[in-house]
């Protein structure tokens, strides 16, 4: 089914070498895959498998030593630092493990952040887009809450809203549930599944194999290579998983 769909990410034989002293560390040794619009992909691997390097490459924070990377049809490899910054601003939404919200700053201001670096938005449009994104993640009633007044789950929702606000080609989540308890993790997964059903393209990088069951496609990375690339035919519903959890009084 995905053959007719638009290719959002196209990696062609990506290699990334780091020179540490005398040695060359080959973090990525020829990674190739395509991700299509509307896919929910988990990228898994142990630490040292090249996961982080791949994430940096996908996020246009880093450029490969060799190979081609097309993001939404644009070749990234030869881009300058500034061009990549603009590309990140328009096409990528990051969600980090530790949320990375601005301190003492309201939810709405945090979500507005990417649009602050986009001159196409004026302050009114920026605010509207931020409110819309916060409503999408279920925080429509907490617009003016400051980052230090929120729970971990709420903070991660704000971070997801921030990743959504620029309507990116792909959302890159880096261990997005890593700092959260089981229940909140499920809630975040519910949110990701909802966004996926709304047609968003999501790449979830994790070392936790459980999460793979909730996504559509799983890519396993080992020693800087793609070891396995499978389609998950039995996608679990995070909502059901959440319902199955024992009731928590405090929640």
């Amino acid at each position: 089914m995905s053959q007719e769909k638009k290719v959002v990410i196209d990696l062609q034989n990506i290699r990334r070498d780091f020179i540490v002293g005398e040695e060359t560390v080959r973090a990525l040794r020829g990674v190739s895959f395509k991700i299509y619009e509307g896919e929910f992909v988990t990228i898994m691997g142990k630490s040292g498998s090249g996961k982080s390097t791949l994430l940096n490459t996908l996020g246009c924070l880093d450029t490969p030593t060799s190979g081609e990377y097309y993001l939404d049809g644009v070749s990234v490899r030869k881009m300058s630092k500034n061009e990549r910054a603009i590309l990140r601003n328009r096409k990528i939404g990051f969600v980090f493990q530790s949320y990375n919200l601005l301190a003492k700053t309201t939810a709405i201001e945090n979500v507005e952040l990417p649009l602050m670096y986009n001159t196409k938005y004026n302050s009114k449009q920026r605010r509207e887009a931020a409110i819309q994104a916060l409503q999408m993640v279920g925080l429509g009633n907490r617009l003016e809450h400051k980052s230090n007044q929120m729970s971990g789950g709420q903070m991660q929702r704000v971070a997801i809203a921030r990743a959504l606000v620029n309507n990116p080609a792909v959302i890159l989540a880096d261990e997005a549930t890593g700092n959260l308890d089981t229940r909140t993790s499920f809630e975040i997964l519910v949110l990701f599944q909802k966004l996926w059903k709304d047609g968003k393209t999501i790449i979830f990088v994790t070392h936790n194999p459980d999460i793979a069951q909730y996504s559509q496609r799983n890519i396993f990375l080992a020693d800087g290579k793609v070891k396995d690339d499978t389609v998950n035919n039995h996608i679990l519903s995070a909502e059901e998983g959440l319902a199955a959890l024992p009731k928590n009084e405090e929640d």
Binding site: N56, D62, K81, A103, E109, L113, M116, Y117, N118
Partner: protein
């Protein structure tokens, strides 16, 4: 680049750290305030000296004998006797730019009245001297042309002399005082002028006809000085030129030969005097300027800490699309806002302190718009200069490392 957005971001960062921002600003505030106060005090005393000098007679021209020492060559003592009565007479008749002219010779010695004595000096002058030095006879009268023609033994004394000789409260006018065994009739007492800027007692004077001092006391035929007054201050230079021409003709000096006299105006004296206060002002401003630099280093220090502390934030901003230039600008705006706000407060505080000095210590002050503009400009530049390095450091961070920085 969106300036208003970057401005908002910087403002937010400052607002998040109010105490620290204020403490950083304090350096700049103190720096700017001290620059302004010091300059106000310096300028104030300069202006007060200038006004005192002009009170002494701003149009005053002094003609002195002898040439200036040039190249270390000391002129012969005969050169010091080059001013004669004839010079005075010619100048008096021929000079068109002068409103008053008076010769001057003086002799030091002891004045005696009854059991009192007082050491001072007697100045031989003409009536015009009062006008030139802006003196007034309070009691009695000034000597006249007849007294000069007769070399009369009369004198007009200053307040200090009167106070020291007539201790019993006698009216000095009409009394006879002795100077070097010569009796002088006091015919007038001068109105008190107090001390001048140089700390000289302007009331410590005894004026007598110049003919009396030259013939009866000193037995000389030359003058120690000629005082003159230009008609207006603006005509001082023309008057000086005219005096020089007349004196050169009178002294039969050929072209190429140096003047054997000196003509000085009050303006020169005033610039000489004010040069002292100018260097004092510069010194004060330098000291204050150093504190401004110290304030600037304070900004740099805090910005540097701030960049390190906010590495993660910078990483985040970069990952959501901030370019190096955006980060650089953000931090520069922060630094400049701190320094400009500090500068503004410093200006207000400096002006306030200057008036405080005027009010409590009674020192003259003069706040010049230039010094305000200057110190303001300096502190803005300080902000950019000292903010640049930390901002550059922030802009050059690697987003991958920055975002994971703990």
């Amino acid at each position: 680049m969106n300036w208003s957005n970057l401005f908002k971001i910087a403002l937010k960062a400052i607002a998040n750290n109010k105490l620290r921002t204020f403490l950083t600003m304090l350096g700049i505030i103190i720096g700017v305030a001290s620059v302004i106060t010091m300059l106000a005090i310096g300028q104030g005393s300069k202006q007060s000296i200038q006004s005192q000098i002009s009170k002494m007679g701003s149009n005053m021209i002094m003609i002195m004998p002898g040439a200036e020492r040039r190249g270390g060559v000391r002129m012969g003592s005969s050169d010091m006797q080059t001013l004669k009565i004839s010079d005075y007479n010619t100048l008096k008749e021929e000079c068109t730019y002068l409103s008053a002219i008076s010769p001057s010779v003086s002799s030091g010695g002891q004045f005696i009245f009854g059991g009192n004595n007082y050491s001072s000096s007697i100045s031989g002058v003409s009536q015009d001297y009062l006008k030139i030095r802006q003196l007034e006879v309070e009691d009695g009268e000034m000597f006249d042309d007849t007294d000069i023609a007769q070399s009369a033994k009369v004198c007009v004394i200053g307040k200090t002399i009167a106070d020291n000789l007539f201790t019993a409260g006698e009216n000095p006018v009409g009394q006879i005082i002795r100077f070097k065994n010569m009796p002088f009739t006091v015919i007038g007492v001068l109105k008190s002028k107090g001390y001048n800027t140089m700390g000289q007692d302007q009331d410590d004077v005894v004026l007598a006809p110049f003919t009396t001092v030259m013939k009866r006391i000193l037995s000389v035929n030359y003058l120690s000085m000629i005082y003159a007054s230009a008609i207006t201050e603006g005509q001082t230079q023309e008057a000086i030129n005219e005096i020089s021409d007349i004196l050169r003709t009178n002294h039969k000096l050929q072209d190429g030969k140096a003047d054997n006299f000196n003509v000085r105006s009050q303006e020169e004296l005033s610039s000489m005097m004010t040069s002292t206060t100018t260097s004092m002002t510069i010194l004060l401003a330098c000291v204050a300027g150093i504190s401004l630099i110290v304030g600037g280093i304070g900004i740099m220090n805090i910005m540097y800490v701030s960049v390190t502390e906010r590495t993660k934030e910078i990483g985040l901003r970069m990952s959501v699309g901030a370019r190096g230039l955006d980060i650089l600008t953000q931090f520069l705006i922060e630094a400049v806002m701190i320094s400009i706000t500090g500068g503004l407060i410093g200006v207000l505080l400096g002006v306030g302190a200057a008036y405080g000095v005027k009010f409590f210590a009674g020192w003259p002050i003069a706040i010049q718009p230039m010094s305000v503009i200057l110190s303001f400009a300096v502190c803005s530049i300080t902000g950019i200069f000292f903010g640049w390095y930390p901002a550059k450091k922030a802009a050059n961070l690697d987003p991958i490392e920055a975002i994971r920085y703990e």
